[in-house]
Amino acid sequence: MTRISPARIALYVISTLVLVYLILPVLIIAPISFSSARFLTFPPPSFSLRWYQQYFANPAWMQATRVTLTVALFTVVIATPCGVAAAYAISQSKLRIMRLIHMMLLLPLVVPIIITAVGIFFVYAKVGLVATLPGLVLANVMLGLPYVVISVLAGMQSFDPAQEMVARSLGMNRLRSFFEVTLPQIKSSVVAGGIFAFISAMDETIVALFISGGQYQPLTKRMFTALRDEIDPTIAAISTLMTAASFMLVLAASARQKKAG
């Protein structure tokens, strides 16, 4: 039996405390959302669904939810094929410029989001895209692209391009060989990338604060405004639903990635 050193015990204690710090805020929201109290009290006085009722009965929240889902859906539908095509070209082409293009596609992760948001706001103001649905979708496609590109590039790493060559030498054309040989093998990373783009669009707040308005405000913008003014437990209900949705999507994505190896 080995003796556990004091340093080891300290390591366990510190790590446990840090992990509690990490998950406590995530765990605290659900009980608040099921509480009957107007003000935040913990533990909640009694169980109630009133904040969920308020959320589902409020037309403004429902409209915002529709906007969020619509934007996230369109984002995935546009960003995924663009990202897959780009990742395919980056991994297969020997052109020098591809390195530069690869870096450029990661720009949304490098540039602080507040700068991107203000810049897009200035450009949209000139071309009349402020407070429109297409404007919101386009911005989210840009923000979601890096996730698709990173995920698919990782998937392409374990793919042997010679297989596609074989398919083509057997008479398939390029497009068909991609769809029948390559895509099935990288499918998992494509799906994972798409899911990450969806979550990114669902959670995006800062760009939406600047460029969305009127009836096309996503959930996050309404939540932000509500949080700035007054703490309303309805937000806890929405937060719980959003977190549950995110987790299910992440679980789906990581199950996919695991299958991809």
Partner: protein, 289 residues
Amino acid sequence: MVTSVPDPSQKHQRREHGLMLALVSPALLVILLLIVLPVGWLAWQSIYHDGFTLENYRRVFTEDIYWRSFALTFEISLAVTLIALLLGYPVAYLANSVPKGWSILILSLVVLPFWTSVLVRAYAWLALLQRTGVINQFLRYLDVISEPLALVHNTFGTVVATVHILLPFMVLPLYATMQKIPGDLMQAGASLGASPSLTFARVFLPLSLPGVLAGCTMVFVLCLGFYITPELLGGGRTVMVSMLVSRNVELYNQFGAASAVAVVLLLGVLLIFAIVSRFISLDRILGQK
């Protein structure tokens, strides 16, 4: 000279190049129109207003309010980075040194908050830290305090919530680096008579430094541009650079000044990436999320 004789393989290669460029072009177009153009516009606007002017930059570098905000942002980012390193290193170390099942559990707990919206977590911290919040109620219940502590709507609350959001960006690169450190090295140190703490200090710690650098860079850079957390938890007193940008746009319509602040922030971030990328590859820093 070999001219005008079309080489079939060359022609094939040119077609191949054309196809590849066509495939990247939609994504590239989106990036060019929605981030390169907007940021370029911002830069242009910071120096041009009915003629060239450096007035915006003069203000940013001389006026007190800008200066204070840059200093505060730098201090907060530094503090957040150090705290995240101190909290993250033990967790990564533990995850690296326990059996696989446990390390998966630890890492899942680390990335769990990663995928909850920043807004949701800001709300949770408000619920925990405010005067009538969970922590104050608990401490009063225990009779540790008689008056509620001011835990939020100040710099303290901002730092607590920011570290919480950025901690996974520290733990993941640390863990990835520690995974690559061969275990026999530690055993070799021990068999040569070094104490565990000496082996750690002389062997493990130096080998984990690339992870430390990657994690610290990501946390520091992300913190420099943080907006939602300081805005909601800072109580209006903690004015970070990002808030300066948004206020200049939304409240004062000072587009030139906002652009100049944004450009200075962006140059700072790019400079950091440029310096760090001489030591470790950018993919390693960015590839985490």
